[in-house]
């Protein structure tokens, strides 16, 4: 027994208790913030290197022969898709909220640009991202994380002084108030499924929706504005004896190659 509980172990335990105690008393906060600040550039570079390797790995495993053409078309589709949805959302808002035309304007959001510095630990998957911005930059719980041209990729769920954590929309714990663009009475709840897709639940049976339509945020959450693109509906699940119908959504943004995102304040 003396071999297992020797002096070194007892000293280590004592130091661990002191460190944890000092943290909860707030004494180590400046040191922790300083360390985070020092490490962030290195983590950013390492994250990008890792992410670049991931993209190469995925490309090789997928074996796309017509990769360049596909990429160009994808970018074009994404651009047109975003433009189309933006116009639809603006038109819709114009009709309903003429008096508050500028209130929901997509170009007046206050954003904080953040780098992803890590994929945080979680059981089973890597559907949580760590951002290098925190409460000191005005980030709050519940705010939307957007990538590219207005596609929501996740939601902030935990904020510290210098860093914050966001769950990706494909995370089963990530829920968003959603609606189908340009369709009234389609409000529901989008929730991640299996780390791959998004399930759009609680859509009223009376709502008329179809595959190919675009799901956006409904604006029912205080920190998330209306009209951020979630993705395209791929399948509608409708049972006659159910109160609600549901749908599967393919996320608009590629969640695998995220490096820089914006948080809408």
């Amino acid at each position: 027994m003396y071999k297992f509980l020797n002096k070194k172990i007892l000293i280590a335990l004592l130091i661990a208790v002191l460190i944890i105690g000092a943290h909860y008393l707030g004494w180590t906060r400046p040191v922790e913030n300083l360390l985070l600040k020092i490490f962030q550039p290195a983590e950013k570079v390492l994250y990008r290197a890792g992410n670049a390797l991931k993209i190469i790995y995925q490309k090789n495993t997928n074996q796309h022969d017509w990769e360049a053409e596909n990429q160009r078309l994808k970018e074009e589709v994404e651009k047109l898709f975003s433009e189309n949805v933006s116009l639809k959302v603006l038109a819709d808002e114009n009709k309903i909220l003429r008096a508050q035309l500028d209130f929901y304007s997509r170009y007046q959001y206050q954003k904080v640009t953040a780098n992803i510095i890590s994929r945080a630990e979680s059981a089973g998957d890597n559907q949580v991202i760590t951002l290098d911005r925190g409460s000191a930059d005005g980030i709050k719980t519940g705010q939307a994380i957007v990538a590219g041209e207005g596609a929501i990729v996740g939601k902030i769920f935990l904020v510290q002084d210098k860093i914050s954590y966001g769950c990706l929309i494909t995370n089963a714990q990530c829920e968003l108030a959603a609606a189908v663009v340009s369709r009234e009475g389609t409000d529901g709840l989008a929730k991640g499924e299996l780390g791959l897709t998004v399930r759009f639940n609680f859509i009223p049976q009376t709502a008329d929706i179809a595959a190919g339509e675009i799901a956006v945020t409904s604006g029912m959450e205080p920190a998330i504005p209306r009209g951020l693109i979630i993705g395209k509906i791929t399948e509608v699940i409708k049972e006659a004896d159910d109160l609600f119908q549901s749908a599967d959504i393919t996320p608009a943004a590629n969640l695998n190659d995220l490096t820089i995102v914006s948080v809408i304040k």
Partner: protein
């Protein structure tokens, strides 16, 4: 002293590799736990004090970055190290590949279990901790993947160490006959 400072920088670099680089890699490479895998040869082939220092550095840095409560990584790593040390003293040698494989497997399982048990306890007091943790079949499947990836990594590390250092080389225990020599 300079050697200790150099070792500290190496520990920090290992942590940064884990937090930045490895966390961005695709599955199954994402499951690789470099700090944990570093602790095993450090404890078995070098010194327990070095392993304790490394565990403290990795634990504190991981806790600063962690979305869970502060201390969970530090306690889990220290607990894992103590269990692995006990296993090494009781059951294994510090020069065989099989020992390293079993110690890594034990360390991975212990680390994940201690950490998730602590999180489950924290879950009672803080709803934020419950946000992501669920002890399901998927958790055990992931644990299997993590163990496999770490074990594969330790095999490479073992052969690497064996190539560059004499610490893991086998040797004969010879009895010195003092009477003859004198």
């Amino acid at each position: 002293m300079p050697a200790k400072i150099f070792a500290l920088f190496i520990f920090i670099a290992i942590f940064l590799l884990q937090a930045g680089f490895i966390s961005a890699l695709p599955v199954p490479f994402f499951y690789f736990n470099l700090p944990l895998v570093t602790l095993v040869p450090l404890m078995a082939a070098f010194s327990f004090s070095a392993a304790l220092t490394a565990a403290m550095v990795f634990g504190v840095l991981a806790d600063i970055h962690s979305l869970y409560f502060f201390g969970v990584n530090l306690i889990s790593l220290l607990g894992t190290l103590f269990i692995a040390r006990a296993a090494l003293i009781k059951f294994f040698t510090n020069r065989s590949l099989y020992s390293y494989i079993f110690l890594t497997a034990i360390a991975t399982v212990c680390f994940e279990l201690i950490k998730n048990i602590l999180l489950a306890v924290a879950d009672i007091f803080s709803p934020a901790a419950a946000y992501l943790f669920t002890l399901t079949g998927e958790f055990f499947l992931t644990l299997g993947y993590k163990t496999a990836v770490n074990v594969i990594a330790i095999i490479f590390i073992f052969y690497g160490l064996n190539f560059f250092s004499r610490r893991l080389k086998s040797f004969f225990i010879t009895k010195i006959n003092n009477e003859k020599n004198t």
